[in-house]
Structure formats: C-alpha cells, structure tokens
Amino acid sequence: MIITKDQIKAHGLKEEEYKKITELLGREANLVELGIFSAMWNEHCSYKSSKIHLKKLPTKNDIVIQGPGENAGVIDIGDDDAIVFKIESHNHPSFIEPYQGAATGVGGILRDVFTMGARPIALMNSIHFGSPENKKTQNLLNGVVSGIGGYGNSVGIPTVGGETKFNSTYNENILVNAMAVGHVDKNKIFYSKAKGVNKSVVYVGSKTGRDGIHGATMASAEFDENSEEKKPTVQVGDPFTEKLLLEACLELMKDKSIISIQDMGAAGLTSSSVEMASKGKLGIELNLSEVPCREKNMTPYEIMLSESQERMLLILDDKKENAAKKIFDKWDLDFVVIGKTTDTNRLVLNYNNKKVADIPITALADEAPKYERKWAKSKISKNKIKVKELKKIKIEDALLRILSSPNHSNKSWITDQYDQIVMCDTIQKSGGDSAVIRIHNKEKAIAISVDSSANYCKADPKSGGKQIVCENWRNLISVGASPLAITNCLNFGNPEKPKIMGEFVECIEGMKEACEFLNFPVVSGNVSFYNETNSKGINPTPVIGGIGLLNKLNKIINMKLKKTNSLIIVIGKTIGHIEQSAFLQENFKIYDGPPPEINLTNEKNNGLAVLKLIKDNLVLSAHDISSGGMLTSLAEMSMASKIGLKIYKPKKLIDSIEYFFGEDQGRYLIEIDKNNRKKIESLLKENNIFSEVIAEVQNDIFEVEKMFSIKVSDLYNSNNQWYHKFNAIK
C-alpha cells in the first residue's frame, strides 16, 4: 500500500516531512508507521518550533535535581525531601467538552508527578475564558470548573489555588492549564530512561479504547471496509482508576523492581515506549495482541495512537513480575507484559504474529524535525494615556468597578467546588497570594503560586515575560516563602506566523532574564501552540507556576490585616504607571500603551528585604501589589480580614488616580506594629529600599482621608456578586 498525499496531510505532516520519513526508513512507511511518525513529530511531542528557544532558559542551580526532559521537574528542599512539579495545558479538549477536557487535564498532570515516585500533594490551575458576554462562556466555565473539581476531589488531592481570567481573546479558544505538585524522598525518584536489554515491558492501568484517536484515522483507507461509524471520541476521565493507579504505583515503588516508568499521555503507547527507549538508547519490541483493549477488533494503528487515560508503561527488573502483578491485582488493575527491551535501537511492533511496524528509534526522537521559524519583532506602543484628559471618574467608583469586574471578583464560587483540605496539610487555601502546603509530618511547608499577565505580554512580550516571573516570585515572598524554582506553560497562537513566533521568542527572552537574575530556574513546562480559531490567535499567555520553601511553620504570613492601629508600609517606589492597568481596562476599556517596566535589581532587593522582615517577625501581614494597583491591593487586605483601613491622602506631586491605580512593579504592602516602625524604616533605608507609611488599620471602614469612605462589608459585597449575577442569566 502506498501512502497518499491526502493521508500525509490528514496526519498533519508536510510532504517534505514525509520524504524525510522515507529516507529514515529506507522505504515507504505503512499506515501504522505513518501514524506513529505523525504522533511523534507533531508539535506537541516534538517541540519542533520551540526547542531551540526553550534551550535558552536557565534550568540548573544547586537545588535542581531534575530539570526539563523528564515527566516533571524535581527540586531539593532539604532533609532528603524533594518536590516534583509540572504544569500542562489541556486547551483544545476542554473547548470541545469542558468537563471531560478539564478532568483529563488534571488526570494527566497528576500522572506526570506520580510517575516519578512522588505522592501528589496539591493541584493548581490557570483557566482563561472568553468574555462573559460571549454565549459559550457560561457553559465552558461551569464545565471546566466542575471537571477540575470532579477529578481532583475524587482522587483526593487538594486543589488549592489558581487563577481565572476572562478576555475576548479566548472566546473561541479557552485555556485550561493544570499544575500538580508532589513530594518524594530524594533517594527514591523514578525516571523514564530504560536500562538493560531483554527486560519486560509492562502495561498497567485501564484498558485501551478508541479514545482521542485523531481525525486522521478517518481519512485512512483501511477503515473503509469497516462499516461501523467511527467518530473521533473525546477522552473520558476515570478518577477512580487514577486513584488506584496512583496507590498501586507508589506501592510498587517501595522496592526496587521498577527500572523505568512512563505514563501514557499524549500519543499514548507510541510516545511512552519511544521515549523510554530513546532515553535509554535501546530498542523496544511490543506484541500488540497482548495489549488490554476495551473494544473488540482494535487495529494496531488504533492501539498505538489511542489516548485512553489512566495507563502506564513500566520496565521491570528480572524476576520481579510476579510480585509486581500481585500489587496490581490487589488494586484490580490490568497488568500485562507486552514486550521487551532490545539492543536493536528499533521500535518493532507485532500483531497476530505479524510484524506491523519497524522503525529506528532515533528516527522518531532525535531526527524529529526542528524548525528555526521566522519571527518578527513585536511593535510596542509608546503611547502615554493622559488620565487628566479622560472623563472624570471618582476614585471609589473606579475601585468598586475593578473589584466587581469578572477578572478581579472573588472566586470562592469556584474554589468552594474544590476540596482544598483533603490530606490535611493545607495551611493556606486559595484566596491568598500563594497556597501553602505543609510537608506531611514535617515542620516545613511549600508555597505555590500560578500567574499569568496576557495583557502585559500582548503589549510587550519581553517585558511581560519578565513580569510574570517577577509576579510569581513576589507572590511566594508575600507568604514568607523563599522562591525556589518554576514550571511554565506557554500558550500561544500559530508558530508558523512570524508575528506569533516573535511573541514567543520575546516572552522567553524576558523570562530568561528574570529567571537568571532571580536565580529562579525553570525545571519543567509545556508548550501549547496553535491556540487559534479562524486564523485569530490568542494573546500570548505564558503561565508560570512557582514553588517556594517555608522552613518554619511559624513564619508563614497571609494578607489578612491583624489588628487595628498597626501601620501599612508600601515597599517599592510608586511612579504611577497607568498604561495597561486594570483601571484603564475596567473603567475605560483602554488597552493601549506599554506595560509597566521591570527593574530586576529593585525587584530582587525589595523581595529579599520583605522576606528578611518576615523572618525577623516584623511583619503582621503582607500582600504584593499587582493588577488594580495599590488601592485594589489595600482593599483586598481589608476584605480578607473584614477590617478597615485609613489611607493617607497622597502627596500633591502625583495624580491620585495614577498613585492609587498605577501598576508599578516590585511593590509590596506590609502591616507592621507601630512600635516597630523606626526599626523597620532604618533597616529598609540601610538597604536602599524605598518605603513609605501609607495607611493605618482601623475598624470596619475603608477610607482615603478627605476623599471617600466606605464600609468594608460593602467592598466585600461588590467583590462577591459577579458570578451569581452572571450565572443567573441563561
């Protein structure tokens, strides 16, 4: 059988790419082989457009145990404890079927973490939807949220935070990024690299069905004989089986029988077997007739490309099969030896005693195309927005409009659907700057935060790339954690367009600078390109998931104001950069101008100074200043504690709108005891940190002297209405 042009196209391959395949094989491919190449060479598995740029990111320092290249990154947090974490996208499936798409996204990222031997201890997510006015948004939002909850709750991993944003750029292309964090003994980490010849390759978990086999199958001739209608099917998640798989794997990992382990994620059995063999520089031979299948008459093509969930591939050491099988029997999971490692460096597949594919492993992995795609520099608007020329607006009205906007309103209607407490180590749930999770049975904890700023990245990709890394670092510091490392999920449009590729390259450039300067390496991540519908790409949306360490449980800080009469200090200089601010967007729908600049030196100094004050017990509560500026952040502190603030009238030198709503970076608000004021101020001065006392804590009134005053309960109500109104209309 000869592969036709249509089949090549239906498999998402270019004709030159197919030509290269025939050269690598030394012959024409058959259909099974074509399917395997298309899976391995697509953007998702091969990173063909992003690889050369991702290499620029810093990925090492003395706490990094495993950087990018494995199922998840691993960092050392002392005492033999290590943290395993990664973030991943499930954008397209979630747009098609929001509940199952989001649920299987959570399932996939959990497997990446427990594959490495870690027990997952927390889930986070970053979800982006179209504008609330868009008809589809309500259904997508509710579906995604219940899918995330439905999966995580059932498996019993707390979902402790994330972010939810709305912007018309996502109308036809929502983003669902899920992050999982696990804990492992650093001497018991498992990797995917195969070792040794003639070792058993074992399939465990759920059976293989026709889930998620790409539309490409439909275009292939082989199926015409089969009268049955075969629609591409959506993957359905089975959190119950995931929980069993998790427990069974961790039980098996207590001893040393596993040589290598890999979950079956995108491209299922294909990518898992190829990755294991490729990393170990070995071959692998599989007998597909042995693969447990859910449906009768599944073809080798379908078996290799199925994306059924909750499956793993293991390579076991000699004579360990029986003991291992017992464990999987106990958990009622399939356990079947389906092949062995070889020294041929080839992927050989047999089915019904016939060889159905025979491909050099290097052809699938190392020889996969890599593109240095054309990219264009982004045009950055230098326009200044003159606040004085805008229609007059009262400060309190502007504040209330921000607080009640979809993007800034309280998200407890989402987080009340997530079990945030299960496992009983959640010290701080969502709602703060970072979630804080205790390491079980230990006197230490980690902080986790997930952040993105697509508006900034759109306006200036490089500066936006820097900004999100910095914002993430700030969020970790705001709970008293020392920032350690990050994972990232890079959501962009079509990389074949120079403009989009330019956004990607510049964002990475910005992230790289910030990560290097802050010693904040990238240890894992994921790239999601082609977030486009009808040729319209989304705003560039890199998402950062960061981890920080809290060595002492009594040094954890939150943003709740603690007592009346204490003072609020702002750390970092306020200039009043208003372009790209929530103030302009929520009140005037103005999206023009450059984002605020990032000064990495100030960023680092300010952050380390705040951290030092926290460690010296001088800070009662803390919060970073981000979207919405200083006044929004102050209001958030008030609402969190239901305690009021008296904010001093700003000095004449600066416009009060710019002062209160400007989004200058590198700033924190801290609450301090009056008696410590002198001490703190001189400490900050010694370190050349700009600071200013701007408010004092008082009972339930939130006011700016001589300007306005409002009850904290009214702030709270305005912050808590949006969703209920939104969900009431159909």
Binding site: I96, K231, V234, V236, D238, T241
Partner: protein, 80 residues
Amino acid sequence: MKFSVIVTLKKDVLDPQGKVVSQTLKNMGIKNLNLVRQGKFFEIDIDETDPIKAENQVRVMSEKLLSNQIIEDFKISRAK
C-alpha cells in the same frame, strides 16, 4: 403529555460507572454477565396536547440540556 428520554454514552466512549458496576456484579457471583452500561433516564411531563409539538419540545430539551451530544446519544419515547 408524558415522555421518557434515555441518554446513553456513545459506543466507544469509556463508561467508568458501567465498568465498576459490572465488576461488582461479577464479584457478587454473576459470572455470565457480558456488559453493563449506565445511562440517564428522564421522565418529562409537559402541558401540550399536540403530540408532534410536544415531542419537538422534548427533543429540544434533550439536545440542549439533557444530553451532551459530544459523548452521548438520546432516545425519546412517548409514555403511556
């Protein structure tokens, strides 16, 4: 006028519930069980005397709310 709507997962879509139910039934001693698939059932009572109009309304409900057509099929029948 009364109708019933049965919503079932499309063939080839994983049915985690059916899987567990059928495993449990086997453990309970029903060895000759081949397959269980689980779906939803709705009883709908609507104030409409024209059977064609009524059924059309039920169809709209089934398409728009009761089923998720990406993974499910539905079947309407008029109840006696």
